[in-house]
Amino acid sequence: MATAYSVTLRTPASTATLIAAAVLIVALFAAPAYASRGMIQDLFFILTMLTLAQYWNLLAGYGGLVSVGQQAFVGIGAYALYGAVILGGADPILSILLGGVAALLLAIPTAFFAFRLQGAYFAIGTWVIAEIARLSVAQWRGVGGGTGTSLPRDALRELAFVDGIRALFDVRASAARDILSYWLALTLAVITIAGVYWLLRTKRGLALAAVRDNTEAAKSVGVDASRMKWVVFLTSAFGTGLAGGLIYLQKARISPDAAFSVTDWTAYVIFIVVIGGIGTIEGPILGVLVFFVLQSLLADYGSWYLMVLGLIGISVMLFAPRGLWGLISERTGLQLFPIRRRLVGGSNTKREV
C-alpha cells in the first residue's frame, strides 16, 4: 500500500514550552535589573544545583549509571580553577573551562575502573574514587592543603566584565561579581538542558534508552553499549567540572572537605532528581525548586532539616517512584520536553492506540 509515514516528536505542550522557556530565559538574564543581591545569589544556587542534577540524571536516569561520586568532578573542577588562578595566574573565567577539562581527565581513569563494577558496586566504587581525589587534593600545599584557601583579591578585582556590570547596574564590585557568576550559571544551565534534550532526540538518545532498558538486547541490535556509557559518563563529568569551577569561583573560598562533599554535591543532587522525577528533563527542574523551598523553610532547624529531607525522599521513592513530575505527567499526560517519537500517517493514524 502506498502510504507515507512520518515521525513527530512535537506535542501541543512542547511548542508552548519552547515559547515559555524563551521568555523565562530572557526574564532571568534581565533579573539583575530588578532582583535583589540575595535573590541573585539564590538563583545562582538553584541554577548550579539544577545543572548538577541534570548531569546526574543523564548519568543515572538515562545511562543507568548510579554514581555517588560526582563530588569528585565538582571538587577537581573547582581545584583546577584555584590551581590555575593561584599558581598560574590564569584568568578565572577561562579557568572554569579548565575545571571541565580536569574533570574530564579524572573521569577517564575513573570510568576505566568503575565500569568494571555493576549496580551498587559501581556506586560505591565512584564514591571511593571521589574520596581518593579528596585526600590527594588535601596534600596539595600550593592550594592550601587540607585547610583550603581563598581566591587572591587581585584575581577577583581584575575579573573581566565586572567593571562593565558595576557601571550598568550601579552596584558594588562584590555584587557585580555575583551578577557575573549568575549569568554564567544561567548560561551553563541553559546549555546543559538544551544539550541533554538534543542528545535524547538523536538516535544516540534512543540507544541510551535501549541500553538502560536491556543491555544485552541493545547489543544484539547493533548498539555500542559500552561507548554509550563512556559518552554519558565523560559528558557528565565535564559538565559537573564546569559547575564545580563556577560554584567555587563565586564562593571565592575553597577547602577539600567542602569541594568534595558527598552531601552537598551528590546526596542533595540525588534528592533533587529523585523527588522531581528521574529519567525526565522536567524532573530535576521541579526537584530543584522543591529542594530550594524546603531548604529555605527548614534552614533554622539544623539536623532536623536533613531528617525531613530524608523522610521526603523515602516517601517519594515508596509512593511516587517516578517523582513529582511522574505524578503530574501521569495525571495530565503533559510532556514539556517530548522525546517519544510517534509514527503518524499511513494506515496508522486511524488505528492509533
Binding site: K203, L206, A210, E216, A217, K219, V221, D224, R341, L343
Partner: protein
Amino acid sequence: MTMLSLQNVSKSFGSLKVTDGVSFDVPEGQALGIIGPNGAGKSTLFNLITGNLMSDAGSIRFDGQDVTRVPPMRRCLDGVGRSFQIPQPFEKLTVFENLLVAATHGRRASEAEVTGDCADVLERTGLMPKANAPAGSLSLLERKRLELARAMATEPKLLLLDEIAGGLTDAECKSLIQTIKDIHAEGVTIIWIEHVLHALTSVVERLLVLDFGRVIGIGDPGEIMESREVKEIYLGIDV
C-alpha cells in the same frame, strides 16, 4: 557459499558442558531448524552465534569472516539478527522506537532513512496498531512478534529465531509461518529453534538435533524425524 560455519564450538558453565564440540555449516539462503529437549543447549548455541556469550573453544565463521571473538554489536552490523526466547523488549520505548533503535544502529542509518522500512516491518508483523504503544504494555504474543520485528528491522543476512511460535493459536501460527516464509523467500538465511514441529518443518529445509550440547543428527527433516535417535531421545519414545 557458506553463510555460517561452526567448528568444534564448546562452552561450559562451571563443570556443566552446555555446548560440546558442535560443528555444522549453513549454506547461504538455507533455513535450518534446531530441535532438542529442554536444556539441550539450543539457546546457548544461539548466544554463541550472536556473541552474547563467547565460546571456550572452537571457531565460528560468518559470511566468510572469523567472528569467534567479535562482540555482539559488531556481529549485528555484519548481518546477524536474532530474537530472544524470553522476549527482551526495550520496555519504556514504544514498539516503533524499538524498531527504530534496531534499524538506525543495526544498519548505521539515519532515522529518516529507516522510518519507511520500520513501518513496513510493523505492517508485516501485524504490530502497526500498537506502533505508538510502550513495548512494556504488550501482551506476550505481541512481545514475541516484536522480537521478530526488531530482528527484521536490522535487515539481517542470517536470522536466528528462538521459539517464536510457542503459545500461538493456529491462525496466528499460520500467519507467522507465512511471514517467515516470505523473509526466507527474500534470500535471508534462517536458523530456527522451535518446539512447534509442524510450524518448523513447513519452513526449514534441514533439521539439526541437539542433545546434551552435542549434535546427534543433521539432515533432511523427514529423515531426521524418522530416525531412531530422535524418537528415543527427543520424543521420549522407546523404540
